[in-house]
């Protein structure tokens, strides 16, 4: 039978399949609808609800062409070590896993699903009706709200009871609250004008407005299907969110989460082609009433004025495949990472023009960036997550906009942490072997790696406490804890357990704009 089948022309097999499949579907209940639902509920939050990939690779007929179904089946069963891919053995039946493999290998990347301003509006959920009844100050002991550190816990499966935003007091290193998010929390941003509000965005593009005083979510809104982009305006009145699926962005009222305007992300890329684009970083700045948003595939940065009609100024040819960025010079300059040409482009947000393109290393992922003042110079630190021969952290003089040094490190890096009061800039090594357990410390003055810490798990997203005394690091993937070090002695002082912790966000960020700068830098801007 098998031999016969192999000899049949493809069209005959397809024809046969068309006849046989509906029967099989009825018989086993493994209908295409059921399998698609399994995909949406288990895979889409990481692999993209359009099958095009998000934080994990795209799963479609193109990307999986020629892959062995048996190998894919066992990969789904056991998960993939050294990645976030969890084991689905015991969660999905063998028939379901086989059905998924078949479905994925025959399904092309889907067109952008519609998610309009009306859909966004209709998705708003209100958990606390009357916000005036919320407590006037924190219901827990804390000296300064800036001592709060938020951790985006992904949960083993990127969803479920382990998915939450966990808030920690960075003086006592004790958890003070947690907000269940349903799917993996990805970004936590704080309201610069009102210390009580935080915003948590998930991989499935839901945003939770969180009251830090009572440690509960008061509202949520679904801004798309996938995408981490999130920014808060300097006056705390607006939020902007951007998606990978669909290709749009939206400005929301930061108070009610009502959508005010959506933006279709499309433009002419550096090769002259008209493309629709994933949303990269979105950033509010203490410098002006604007948002800046990176259009990943179009290679453009848009500056949106927060006034009537939300007009857009488009800055073109910023780079090939933009991703994240950080601010400097009181928030008037923006350093944007561009993957494919391995540069960081400096943009003047005042003139809305490119200042200069700086060499970055290998696939720059600046992860929120870091900048420190050393001997009168402001130095920016740029991580690179490509696994190339040359693995470096780039250091730029942000006044002269030139490369000062490229510091050799052990592997690819994703996020630097710095603090005005801490002696070291921490970078996370993410290369997929034992190096992933470690972070490396760069001495601010000598610009050399002086120490490597074995954190465990997949160690990433280092962050200093607001006072700079402690360094927090996620022992992510299967490490299942956040590890806290003394910033000067680098001794381990505490661990906090949670499932698959990832990004760490200090409330202090609202004061120092970019990690490593002193709060004075921000005041100078006004």
């Amino acid at each position: 039978m098998k031999t016969t089948k192999r000899q049949l022309p493809k069209s005959v097999i397809l024809g046969l399949a068309a006849i046989l499949l509906p029967v099989a579907a009825q018989a086993t209940s493994e209908s295409p609808q059921h399998i698609q639902k399994l995909y949406d509920e288990n895979c889409a939050s990481c692999h993209g609800s359009d099958h095009g990939g998000f934080i994990a690779p795209g799963l479609n007929s193109d990307t999986l062409k020629g892959r062995s179904p048996t190998a894919l089946r066992s990969l789904i069963m056991t998960g993939s070590f050294d990645t976030l891919m969890p084991p689905f053995f015991g969660r999905l039946s063998d028939d379901e896993i086989r059905g998924l493999v078949k479905h994925l290998q025959t399904t092309p990347k889907q067109a952008n699903p519609a998610w309009t301003i009306d859909d966004i509006k209709a998705s708003i959920k209100v958990y606390v009706e009357d916000e005036s009844k919320l407590p006037a100050k924190p219901i827990y002991d804390i000296d300064n709200i800036d001592n709060i550190i938020g951790v985006a816990a992904r949960g083993k499966y990127g969803r479920g009871s382990g998915s939450k935003a966990v808030f920690i007091n960075s003086v006592t290193h004790k958890q003070i609250g947690e907000i269940p998010t349903g799917t993996a929390a990805h970004i936590i941003d704080y309201n610069p004008a009102n210390p009580r509000w935080a915003y948590v965005k998930t991989d499935t593009a839901e945003i939770f407005k969180v009251d830090l005083y009572s440690m509960q979510a008061v509202r949520s809104v679904k801004t798309g299907f996938n995408g981490p982009g999130l920014g808060v305006s300097r006056d705390g009145k607006y939020i902007m969110a951007g998606s990978y699926v669909p290709h749009n962005a939206v400005i929301l009222d930061a108070d009610t989460l009502e959508p005010l305007k959506t933006f279709e992300l499309e433009g002419i890329d550096p090769d002259g082609k008209m493309v629709t684009s994933d949303s990269g970083m979105i950033i509010g700045t203490p410098f002006d009433d604007i948002f800046a948003i990176a259009l990943e595939n179009a290679g453009q940065v848009w500056v949106v004025d927060l006034k009537e009609g939300f007009p857009v100024t488009k800055i073109e040819n910023v780079g090939r495949h933009l991703h994240d960025a950080f601010l400097t010079h009181g928030g008037s300059k923006l350093m944007v990472a561009s993957y494919d040409d391995s540069i960081v482009t400096a943009i003047d947000l005042k003139d809305r023009k490119i200042i200069k393109k700086l060499e970055a290393g290998c696939v720059p992922h600046v992860g929120g960036g870091a900048a420190v003042e050393v001997d009168g110079r402001t130095l920016g630190f740029g991580t690179n997550f490509g696994d190339c021969d040359k693995m470096v952290v780039s250091v730029w003089d942000l006044d002269k906009m030139e490369v000062v040094k490229q510091i050799p490190v052990d592997g690819g890096t994703e996020s630097p942490a710095a603090h005005a009061n801490a002696p070291y800039v921490a970078v996370d090594i993410i290369s997929k072997d034992k190096r992933a357990r470690t972070i490396q410390l760069i001495d601010k003055k000598s610009l050399e790696v002086v120490k490597t810490l074995d954190v465990g798990g997949h160690a990433y997203f280092p962050e200093y406490s607001a006072d700079g005394k402690f360094l927090y690091v996620s022992a992510g993937y299967s490490g299942d804890e956040v590890v806290v070090y003394d910033s000067a002695s680098l001794q381990k002082v505490a661990t906090i357990s949670m499932e698959s912790p990832a990004g760490i966000f200090s409330h202090g960020r609202v004061r120092y704009m970019t990690r490593g700068l002193s709060p004075d830098e921000m005041k100078g801007a006004k």
Binding site: T78, P87, Y157, G160, G162
Partner: protein, 103 residues
């Protein structure tokens, strides 16, 4: 002569005590992180996972179960594959590591 016999008994005592302690928790943790934690967690499995917790289980039980899975005298598609590559020493270390964790 008598002294020598006592000494050798003592020696055996020391030696066996030594071999019982030979399991390395550090090596066990490292192996557990690489091989087991994906499903069972480095301390405990995910609240949403269908896998049994190992923390605080009897080391001898864990050791014999792992050896059975490895030698396929206990049948499980997934465990026969995963335990297949473990040496006796790996199994000893992993069992000692999980036995020491608080459930």
């Amino acid at each position: 002569m008598k002294t020598a016999a006592v000494t050798s008994i003592l020696m055996i005592g020391f030696l066996s005590a030594h071999s019982a302690n030979a399991a390395s928790l550090y090596a066990g943790q490292s192996k557990a992180a690489a091989v087991c934690s994906q499903c069972h967690g480095i301390r405990s499995p995910s609240a949403d996972a269908p896998f049994p917790p190992l923390a605080g289980r009897d080391a001898d039980y864990l050791e014999s179960a792992l050896k059975q899975y490895r030698d396929k005298t206990r049948v499980s598609d997934i465990m026969n594959n995963i335990a297949g590559s473990l040496t006796d020493r790996d199994i000893e270390n992993i069992a000692a590591y999980y036995a020491k964790q608080k459930p």
